[in-house]
């Protein structure tokens, strides 16, 4: 046993520290690991991450001390230490309004092992400046959420973690199961991106790595807008919407300079359909017949495809182009036939459906049998929705999804989602892939339990969320 442990540990480390090399750039290898061996590697890798991060990520240390967790004996031992979305926005939002980026930096320091010693936050006057300062002087490429509730989360990805993730994303989505090629030796793709080239949100954060690893050069990266979308402006817009929903719009404090930039952005977004049209006309001409890559939310891709078809562009790109529709566009009901619209415009044989989230390196691809497969570097858990306890890792289990992202080296990879999933632990998928998988139906717990006809005199968060959704619908109409 003693001799068997040592190579297992090193294989585990290789799998999570350099997965592209470990899997030789092959989706088939990713999907063909022996279950028992994988479980052992995952446990070893999880232990290694825990040992490396436990006392060096301040928030994790505090949680682990409180929960009295010092060792990881089994995978489920990590469940009490999984982070949730509240952790990534546990700073007082006042800090941003007061431009107190020194405090915000010390808050962030407790979530990452990366060295923030060279950051001069005292000189930052805006979120944009703070993010630029972090980019310039740390390994971090902090991604933030959209802040629809009025508060934004900050996710401390490192530049290496983002690159590893994008490389694996490319392997998973550009290859077919059964291929034996090494993705690293494949040709570059033309990348279409229907939004801003740069920005602080995860979708835009990925673009540097996408440009380097998938487009392999700026000439093959085509964004509708070449510039950067301001995080301050996005946050302001989210705050104003949230405050309006609460009837507190008058309380939103806005620097006049920022308000002017918000107007600019709104004009830009109003011009968006026209810019997309111009963009499509140009790319349909210049990239006709080429193999392209595009990853965006399904509504953005659909909007792009519908405009393209309307302008007479059909079957524009190579049939093996990689078009990936990510979910999560809140409140957007896909119109009937939306997938056909996309297929017809791009001229692709298959539209890829993607399940993932900004917090972790989850890049799950729906197989031809409608299952979302979970890659080996992700340790999944299904939690009892009421108690939060892990359900047995066998059979088919329905509950709250949680994941441990073994690729996270500088931050804690454990994350509890708001998703209700059904995970199949044992039954092999007819597609032949060897990994565990989720049923196609993935629901948000937050969407459940509404409309219960209870009436209360208390101003609750639910009441405001409903008002906010109403506002959003109104603005989109």
């Amino acid at each position: 046993v003693a001799t068997a442990d040592a190579p297992a540990l090193s294989a585990a480390k290789r799998m999570v520290d350099d997965p592209l090399e470990f899997f030789a750039g092959s989706l088939t290898r990713i999907e063909q690991m022996d279950r028992a061996e994988l479980q052992q590697l995952q446990l070893e890798a999880l232990r290694a991450r825990f040992e490396a991060l436990r006392d060096r990520v301040g928030t994790l240390k505090k949680l682990a001390d409180r929960q009295r967790v010092d060792t990881i004996g089994a995978l489920d031992d990590v469940v009490p230490l999984l982070f949730d979305h509240a952790i990534y926005k546990s700073y007082p939002s006042r800090l941003i309004l007061d431009r107190n980026f020194v405090h915000l930096t010390s808050w962030l320091r407790r979530l990452t092992m990366c060295d923030l010693g060279r950051v001069n936050a005292a000189g930052c006057e805006s979120l944009d400046e703070w993010l630029a300062e972090l980019d310039a002087h740390t390994e971090l490429r902090v991604a933030h959420t959209s802040g629809t509730s009025g508060t934004i989360s900050f996710l401390p990805w490192s530049v290496t973690e983002l690159e590893t993730f994008i490389g694996l994303l490319a392997v998973v989505f550009t290859q077919e199961f059964g291929d034996t090629a090494d993705w690293r030796e494949s040709a570059p793709l033309e990348v279409l991106f229907p939004y801003f080239r740069r920005g602080g949100a995860m979708a835009t954060r990925q673009n540097d790595a996408t440009e380097r690893l998938i487009a392999r050069g700026p000439d093959r990266f085509h964004a509708v807008f070449g510039g950067r979308v301001s995080s301050d402006v996005l946050y302001l817009a989210a705050r104003m919407r949230a405050a309006t929903a609460k009837g507190q719009a008058h309380t939103v404090e806005v620097a006049p300079a920022l308000l002017a930039r918000k107007d600019e952005l709104e004009q830009l977004l109003a011009a968006m359909p026209q810019r997309v049209d111009e963009f499509l006309d140009r790319q349909a001409h210049e990239l006709a017949g080429k193999r392209i890559w595009t990853l965006a939310t399904w509504n953005m891709i659909h909007q792009m495809a519908a405009s393209g078809l309307q302008r007479g562009h059909r079957n524009v790109f190579a049939p093996d182009s990689v078009v990936i529709a990510a979910g999560g566009a809140k409140g957007w009901e896909p119109p009937p036939g939306w997938q056909d619209t996309i297929r017809q415009f791009f001229g692709i044989e298959q539209l890829h459906l993607f399940y993932g989230m900004s917090e972790i390196a989850l890049a799950s691809r729906r197989c031809e049998h409608g299952h979302y497969h979970l890659s080996p570097w992700i340790v999944p858990f299904v939690l009892d929705p009421d108690t939060g306890e892990a359900l047995a890792r066998s059979g088919a289990r329905t509950g709250r999804a949680a994941y441990f992202d073994l690729l996270a080296q500088t931050r804690w990879g454990g994350f509890i989602t708001g998703d209700e999933v059904t995970l199949h632990w044992d039954e092999p998928c007819p597609c032949g892939r060897g990994t565990v998988y989720l049923d196609e139906r993935i629901a948000r717990f937050a969407d459940k339990g509404g409309g219960d006809d209870k009436v209360t005199c208390v101003a609750t968060a639910e009441a405001h969320t409903e008002a906010l959704e109403y506002l959003n619908t109104f603005e989109q109409a």
């Binding site: 309380t251 339990g449 006809d453 009436v455 208390v458 968060a461």
Partner: protein, 483 residues
């Protein structure tokens, strides 16, 4: 459909008649058991008083006679002797957000609302009683006599179910103003209104007050019911408590002739001048604050959630929080208990996250549903203030009163102040920032119903104010005489 024999029946009561047929099941989601009620679509045409002159029987009664009726009704609502109220209480054990001892206390105190003293106070403070009795004349400078009288209206009342008093208040207010009330029960208290109406039928099924109370359950937002009911031919007013979810489907029916009286969702705060307190008064403040946070397990809009602490010594805020936490644990169980089902997941997550951010927050308690106090280090409430519930409050140190008032808005209902010397400085500015009720700390959750409510005068708003103008040709010449 199979119907569980044990399922509670929520009767439909239409103007003195109790109906328990054509039952269908309504599933209370989350908390609460499913219950049975008459299929509202079968009876919807009988629910409204379509002829407005049908209110005339109420004008055969004097206000005193109406008060006598209500007082007698109150006597019969004692839960120890009234089986209908006992059933309502039983159902509330499941459906209510609070625990059994608190529900028991709510039902115990409900008849007190009907005591003569309280009702007379409503008439004295809340409306001009003479206008209910008859025409009240005034002589104007141009010589005419203007006489005003308050007439009742036909109204649907959609009351909050997070306490038991809503249904009782609707009955009292409608009766005093000689209105016709249709009470739509909420799923979190499906039976109290019906129990009161049933008791009225037993008291006197033919009494005009009994004949102008209807209690029904339908699913809020059910278009097949509401489209037929919410029309100016049927009703003049909708008195609706609750938030966006319960209001938004009502607004589509509003039109000239149909008015919405909205008791919006509210939250409440406290302001404590810590620098003015010595050790004894700090104790007193902590006990009072614990009551305002803990009463009804913080299920009411009147409960303190954000506590602004005026101080130049932020370290003392921790002491106030600790003492308040201890005092909260000692509250009598009829007033407050640990949470019914622990904290909501979202609140617990945010509370736990705050407790890991010690640079910004100190969290006292909150580990097993017993309640918690979050002390902010910065002068701003927690970002999850809207989630505060089940005895979790946030103490926010502020240097000046203005630093607290900036967080007030139209949703801020009650403001508890301590010590009393602070009141004058708070009242006017707080009102201008949106607050609606300034109280002595410790009494936030025992409101008087005599005065305005949420900056509205409910009795006056329920009335149709009719005016007679009598001109005297010697003093005021009509237009034709000018020709």
């Amino acid at each position: 459909m199979t119907i569980a024999a044990s399922a509670t029946v929520v009767p439909l009561v239409i103007r003195g008649e109790v109906i328990e047929t054509e039952l269908i099941e309504f599933g209370a989601r989350g908390d609460g058991r499913p219950f049975l009620a008459p299929d509202p679509s079968r009876f919807v045409d009988r629910i409204p008083l379509t002829d407005p002159a049908g209110l005339s029987d109420l004008y055969a009664l004097s206000v005193d006679e109406i008060v006598d009726y209500l007082v007698e009704l109150g006597n019969r609502l004692e839960v120890d002797t009234n089986p209908h109220m006992q059933s309502a209480r039983e159902l509330s054990y499941d459906a209510a957000p609070t625990t059994q001892p608190i529900v028991d206390e709510q039902y115990r105190i409900l008849p007190a609302l009907f005591r003569r003293g309280g009702i007379e106070e409503m008439l004295a403070v809340g409306i001009d009683r003479a206008c209910l009795e008859g025409w009240v004349p005034a002589r104007l400078v141009d010589g005419r006599t203007l006489s005003v009288r308050a007439f009742g209206s036909r109204a649907v009342h959609i009351s909050a179910g997070n306490g038991t008093l809503g249904a009782a208040l609707a009955v009292i207010r409608s009766a005093l103003t000689r209105g016709d009330a249709i009470l739509k029960s909420p799923s979190n208290d499906p039976l109290t209104a019906a129990a009161i109406a049933r008791t009225m039928c037993e008291l006197d099924p033919d009494h005009p007050v009994t004949r102008h109370v209807t209690v029904a359950y339908w699913r809020g937002g059910d278009e097949t019911i509401e489209r037929r009911l919410y029309h100016p031919q049927n009703i003049e007013k909708i008195v609706a408590w609750g938030g966006f979810a319960s209001i938004k489907h009502i607004t589509r029916y509003l039109r000239p002739g149909l008015e919405l009286v909205s008791f919006d969702p509210k939250r409440s705060a406290s302001i404590i001048d810590l620098d003015a307190l010595d050790d004894d008064s700090l104790d007193d403040a902590a006990r009072r604050l614990a009551t305002d946070i803990g009463q009804l397990n913080q299920a009411a809009c009147t409960n303190a959630r954000i506590v602004f602490v005026l101080t130049s010594a932020p370290a003392r805020v921790d002491e106030l929080a600790l003492r308040t936490y201890r005092a909260m644990q000692e509250l009598p169980e009829a007033i407050s208990t640990p949470a019914k089902h622990g904290l909501s997941r979202e609140l617990q997550l945010n509370l736990d996250a705050a407790s890991l951010s010690e640079d910004f927050y100190r969290v006292i308690g909150g580990e097993h549903g017993e309640g918690a106090l979050i002390v902010s280090r910065l002068p701003a409430p927690v970002d999850f203030a809207d989630l505060l519930d089940d005895r979790v409050a946030n103490l926010v140190p502020v240097a000046t009163l203005d630093d607290a008032l900036r967080f007030f808005d139209t949703h801020t209902q009650t403001v508890g102040v301590y010590p009393e010397s602070l009141r004058d400085a708070v009242a006017g500015p707080a009102a201008l920032h949106g607050a609606q009720r300034i109280v002595t700390l410790g009494s936030a959750c025992v409101p008087s119903f005599a005065g305005p409510h949420d900056a509205i005068e409910p009795l006056r708003r329920l009335c149709r104010w009719v005016v007679q103008e009598k001109t005297d040709a010697t003093a005021h010449q009509p237009g034709y005489m000018l020709a």
